[in-house]
Symmetry: C2
Subunit: 471 residues, 2 copies
């Protein structure tokens, strides 16, 4: 028998932990230095997706990179200008006089979740097509109202919003790209249709927005002239807005801009509208959404790209589209996680993720801009490092960086722009969207707020389709 | 001859460099780890000051700490409420009908620097006491106008501002402390008296502020009710305001609050005032100053404290006072350093540091709140670490921490509050104030912006006086 050689153990071990953080956690607990690499099996080990990834990151990568560079250029160089407010039916292409546009992918009336059905009923009553919500429901059920996804009409609406043709909409023009996009006017808080409420108060608010807020703002904007939407958002980001969950600084910049014209307004509703504007810190959300939409509408014409240009939910399904590919890829809308609820509410009473506002996450706002937002941090765990982690996570799945939205806390790097479906699938990281939580069934509106992670399935399907299209 | 013993040099040296950073710099250049301790000879080696410090940090420290705790409590727990706008001569105690209140310590007409003389002349013309600035100068020179430091009348005014009795002033009440303080209304930018301009335009602006801005704001405030000034400032700090050099976020919050009342105004000047407000991002500066003054007015009654409750400049002298000590201690007003100038201007054409706005640095705003301000960082060198360094420097010389002004970038620590003259003298670190630079002699107004470090001499004198008073 030979004696085994004596092996001297070193005093210091340099450890890199790859994958599951078992060693990393143990070593950190002992205050040992360790580098953790968050490696996962690509595409969760799905062999079809892995094969597609190998092609899309390998032999087909050049074509894709060229296309993606053009998409990023469009997302970053478009200049969305808010040029006015108009009647939806008059300006939105293909908006018929018996149409209602709704958030998210196309969905039949009977498949709509309760908050969206309520929203549509409220819109129908506000249009004057039915006397009350019961009659409105019957009218829609009879097929006499055409339901259309807003996204298919260059329009985006937040949460459970739906709009009829008489609703006033922001008109945002991206002149350099020749695209125009639209969004509804934010309804504020309380009993409001965009949170899936269809009571008299919510319907009254819709009429107030149409008959007072819209005209007063339209008049002020006409006097002021076009507003460079992202010039305001670019100021708002260093002021702590992610310009999705938190929009207060940008809203205030917008109001300050409009102040001289609001004070000069001779519209009889101007005082009441001023009170409404002063109390609605989400006012700019919809303006920013329309601006984002005007950019992705330009970017979607670029063929052979792996970048997402639609990301939208109707409370039942989550849908994505890629630039250069017209098809929607769907998955069930996810529940909202890590949510904070109003007293008496919880996950069991909450609707799944809903609304078109995730369009912001595609252009460098929302999650990508979380890092500098104390309000978002307060929501993600309380420390700025939590907000920074949200931005870092988006960095891992994005193809570019914004030259206009900059993060002081990260030494003014630009926010990540352009969600690359290849990175999403490879890393298994989907975009996280900070969003409101609304009641699933009783029409009581907002019950909390939380984080919704997009479901991976629709990204995998979009990836496989891209792979087929490039074959 | 004996052979010297062989000394084995270690491979790794742990170095702590104390004092002048010669070794530190050299080691850092070689990428070696080194801890630098910024140690200096206490009080610059001034033996009288060192002896006083030994007593004030030694046997007399207990009494001082007790007093300081009460001062900090007052600075942190007072709640300054903006209750209205009134005619200065009607509300400011001891303001005679032929008085002019000016920034900084008391100073005779002939000793006033050019920008302050111009300011006083403009105020005299605006009051209607003289037809033009030449006549105004003669009138003041004849002794028929009484010149008084605003600070002695519970009033603070920024830069070269001076006010006559007809000027409208913010009235800020700190109810819990029973103190009231006042400030002028900000005049905006361009050819303005607060930057030492006395031409027709500047005088016209003074009249506009008196006859239009004052009344319209007063009416709006009366309708709205009292405004919690530091509740707004506490929101503004996480939005990137230091609430001194940068006040935009807080100004916008203030305007949003007033919007409903401004729109309802029936005053004929309301539209013009709205345009003025919309274009003046420093509007809230004076409001915050009056609020800070209401707190230091309360704190100054506390005897035996080493905390500074007045810090003010008239462009010729820099003056400080301590809580519990009524006397001013003066030193020449410093030049403004690290300044950025408009083209064609430079240090040789610039006036020394001027104005009462440094009162903000005494209550946790301005320099203490720099860390979270991208705008201030942009000014100090461009990186947030530069802004953080400014806050860290104030931390070293302050006795407490603000429970209301919090810095997200530093994990929500409170801003440093209460400049302790013992720490200032011991460390040789004086408060740095970010301020505008105005022309020294030609009345052309603002020519740049920079950093003014308070002169150490007045702090040493205040320390020696405290030492005598506690004997």
């Amino acid at each position: 028998m030979s004696v085994p050689p004596v092996v001297e153990l070193p005093n210091v071990v340099d450890v890199v932990n790859i994958g599951l953080p078992l060693f990393e956690t143990a070593l950190r607990a002992q205050e040992q230095a360790v580098i953790g690499v968050d490696w996962r099996i690509p595409a969760g080990g799905d062999s079809e997706a892995v094969a597609a990834l190998a092609r899309l990151l390998g032999p087909r990568a050049d074509r894709i990179e060229r296309a993606n560079a053009e998409v990023i250029r469009r997302l970053n160089e478009g200049v969305p200008m808010l040029v006015g407010i108009d009647r939806a039916g008059d300006v939105i292409p293909g908006f018929g006089e018996r149409d209602v546009l709704h958030c998210g992918p196309a969905i039949a009336w009977q498949d709509m979740p309760d908050p969206l059905q309520r929203s549509v009923r409220a819109a129908v009553v506000a249009e004057g097509w039915a006397e009350d919500v019961a009659a409105a429901g019957a009218l829609v059920e009879s097929g006499k109202v055409r339901l259309q996804p807003a996204n298919e009409h260059s329009t985006v609406v937040p949460m459970a919003t739906s709009i009829g043709p008489s609703a006033p909409v922001y008109v945002v023009q991206n002149e350099v790209g020749g695209t125009t996009a639209y969004s509804s006017i934010n309804q504020g808080s309380g009993a409001v249709q965009w949170f899936g409420v269809d009571n008299d108060q919510a319907i009254e608010r819709l009429r107030f927005v149409r008959d007072a807020v819209g005209p007063v703002l339209a008049e002020a904007l006409a006097s002021r002239g076009p507003v460079d939407v992202f010039a305001l958002a670019a100021q708002g980001v260093p002021m702590g807005d992610d310009v999705h969950m938190r929009v207060q600084a940008t809203t205030n910049l917008f109001l300050r801009d409009l102040l001289p014209y609001l004070v000069r307004s001779t519209h009889p509703a101007a005082p009441e509208v001023a009170t409404f504007l002063s109390g609605n810190h989400l006012m700019f959300l919809n303006v920013a959404m329309a601006a984002a939409k005007s950019l992705v509408e330009w970017a979607r014409d670029v063929p052979e790209s792996s970048i997402v240009t639609t990301m939208s939910r109707n409370g039942s399904t989550y849908g994505v589209r890629l630039a250069g590919g017209g098809d929607w890829f769907l998955a069930p809308s996810p529940p909202i996680q890590d949510a904070l609820y109003y007293p008496g509410y919880g996950p069991e009473t909450s609707a799944p993720d809903i609304g078109d506002s995730a369009v912001l996450e595609l252009v460098g706002l929302g999650g990508p801009a979380a890092a500098n937002s104390p309000a978002v941090a307060g929501f993600l765990g309380g420390r700025m490092s939590d907000a920074i982690a949200a931005t870092r996570s988006m960095q891992r799945i994005c193809a570019g960086e914004s030259p206009r939205f900059r993060l002081p806390i990260l030494d003014n790097i630009g926010t990540p722009v352009g969600v690359d479906v290849r990175k999403v699938v490879e890393l298994g990281i989907t975009p996280a969207v900070n969003t409101g939580v609304i009641h699933a069934s009783d029409g009581s509106g907002q019950v909390g707020a939380g984080v919704a992670w997009a479901p991976i399935a629709c990204f995998i399907d979009a990836l496989l389709d891209l792979d087929r299209r490039l074959a």
